[in-house]
């Protein structure tokens, strides 16, 4: 699925300082029944965001008008649990283009990269600084610079670099996905398959 190119993102951020946020919270299983990739943003963090009668839970950060922006800042071990790519779709579809955490679960991170959400892993200290900056001033902007691989808290100037492999970086910068790449090496794949025993 094609997605928007990612270059430099400057935005306010939404703080969610909980640890081990799992994919069942990001998008509960009962919302996985679509056969199209549409409308998942509405159910992002569904059970934390809404009461059983669908009224918004005021205490949850997405319902707090003070916070907003295209960056979600999560706690440690963000995205653990199931392989559902719907979790990454929901994050993207809601309007986030970047998730920041001091530690990501593998599959979630991989899924994000495949759907155009940039996962930025920072040190625990930097993660604390971001939370502090947002809580001091919800209008505080964060700059995520993919070409330079840096993340900066503009208010304080604090900066850290982050890692991303050069292949995925190219993809994100151009809005390409892996299928485009694989399609271009079909011949090589077929001759590989011909040599297999099973």
């Amino acid at each position: 699925m094609a997605y928007d190119k990612f270059n430099i993102l400057t935005s306010t951020a939404v703080p969610l300082p909980l640890e081990n946020v799992d994919t069942d919270q990001i998008i509960p299983a009962r919302f996985l029944k679509a056969t199209e990739r549409k409308g998942f943003g509405d159910n992002l963090f569904r059970d934390w965001r809404y009461n059983a009668d669908n009224s918004p839970k005021e205490s949850f950060v997405l319902n707090n008008p003070v916070y907003g922006g295209k960056i979600l800042v999560g706690g440690k071990n963000f995205g653990s649990g199931s392989s559902r790519e719907h979790a990454a779709w929901a994050v993207y579809d809601y309007g986030f283009r970047c998730v920041v955490s001091s530690f990501f679960a593998d599959i979630f991170k991989n899924n994000c990269l495949n759907v155009g959400v940039l996962p930025v892993q920072v040190s625990p200290e930097f993660s604390e600084q971001i939370f502090e900056a947002i809580y001091n001033d919800p209008k505080a902007e964060i700059e995520v610079n993919l070409p330079e691989q840096t993340i900066t808290i503009l208010a304080t100037g604090a900066q850290e670099s982050f890692e991303i492999n050069s292949y995925k970086k190219e993809n994100m910068l151009n809005g390409f996905d892996d299928i485009d790449y694989l399609q271009n090496m079909k011949g090589e794949i077929e001759s590989f398959a011909n040599d297999l025993m099973l």
């Binding site: 081990n20 799992d22 679509a34 593998d106 995925k168 694989l182």
Partner: protein
Amino acid sequence: MSKTLFDKVWDSHVVRKIEGGPDVFFIDRHFIHEVTSPVAFLGLKNRGLKVLYPERTFATADHNTPTINQHLPVEDPLSANQLKALEENSKAHGISHWGLGHKKNGIVHVVGPENGITFPGATIVCGDSHTSTHGAFGAIAFGIGTSEVEMVLSTQCIMQPKPKKMRINVNGQLGKGVTPKDVALYIISQLTTSGATGYFVEYAGDVFENMTMEGRMTVCNLSIEMGARGGMIAPDETTFAYLKDKPLSLKGEAWDEAVAYWKTLKTEEGAAFDKEFNFNASDIEPMITYGTNPGMGIGITNNIPDADAVEGGVATYKKSLDYMGYSESDAMIGKKVDYVFLGSCTNGRIEDFRAFASIVKGRKKADHITAWLVPGSHEVEDKIKEEGILDIITEAGFTLRQPGCSACLAMNDDKIPAGKYAVSTSNRNFEGRQGPGSRTMLASPLVAAAAAVTGVVTDPRTLL
């Protein structure tokens, strides 16, 4: 350089290495189900692509299928729509499809091995994180996202950097009433839910060597719960005996040739791991979880740890106990139970039903308990009947449901009501996993059976 089991299987499936990027990784077997495949097929359609090797993909319906009255049309229109999409997509692309009502239908990770689709040295993926189950056969098996499902359908490859390697050794003798599930929950409690993130695990040592294939599947299944991409166990005579003569296993000379190759799939002396752990079998008790992730597990006779005794954030820990309605230092023994769920790709195989029956035999279901006993496949269901297990559980006041994922992720009607407590043999105790507001304690089939007949959390060793 000496190679590990994982190296051997991984390296033999790399089609191309990308400098500074992932490996282009060839996939031997691909399982699909109704929930994570429709959007992938839609992607193929939008790009005008075909399925490259339909004979390498297998479809089964399991995630949102009902577990009663499977002969009737599926009521929930969204689920019915996904089931129909799976059927139509499979048909359009020439993929074998074991839909609802098919005699081979069941949970993807149960029917794969049962039919010999899984084999040693294979690379296996599915849009479901518990694909790690198949690692029990010495395969590299892991869960993938829907974009990757689309990649495998169209090119039989995905793009993955090679994970780091971890070995977990468990040696010694397991005590009475200690099952493979307990071994896995114990390891996760020691490593935490992120302790193996970025790694692929090899399980080694006598405990795994002496384990049945069913037990090995349970252990490998839960690898993902400590963050690992997957786990694997070197294939041996137990593996070959299990696979021999399965419907889709190789036959005759081809089988002999394959076995000769499979025997080479072992970690060589001196091969390096990035991380290694050693545990003693005698330290493991029947386990139970008390919190909202699978790492929050303790020996069943222990008390819930204090917040300052656990690693990680105190706030997150307290939120978790609050959700469960528990307090620090509570004993788990005697905790109230409302529901018992026996099933899932973790513990929905015949051995799990035998274990359950061994405790409920001659006893009665506690009156207030609702028990959902859900076989992992029709084949398991048939064996339950053949072996007389159905008579035992019926006598004890239980009924048997039809195969599917059921309350493991509660996408169908099998939802634990809000606030209720369930002892479940499945794999995740996340908030709301088994239904909004549900409270899950993960445990073995023996602990589930003990709870089912006593109505509270009970040490199964007292009933054996």
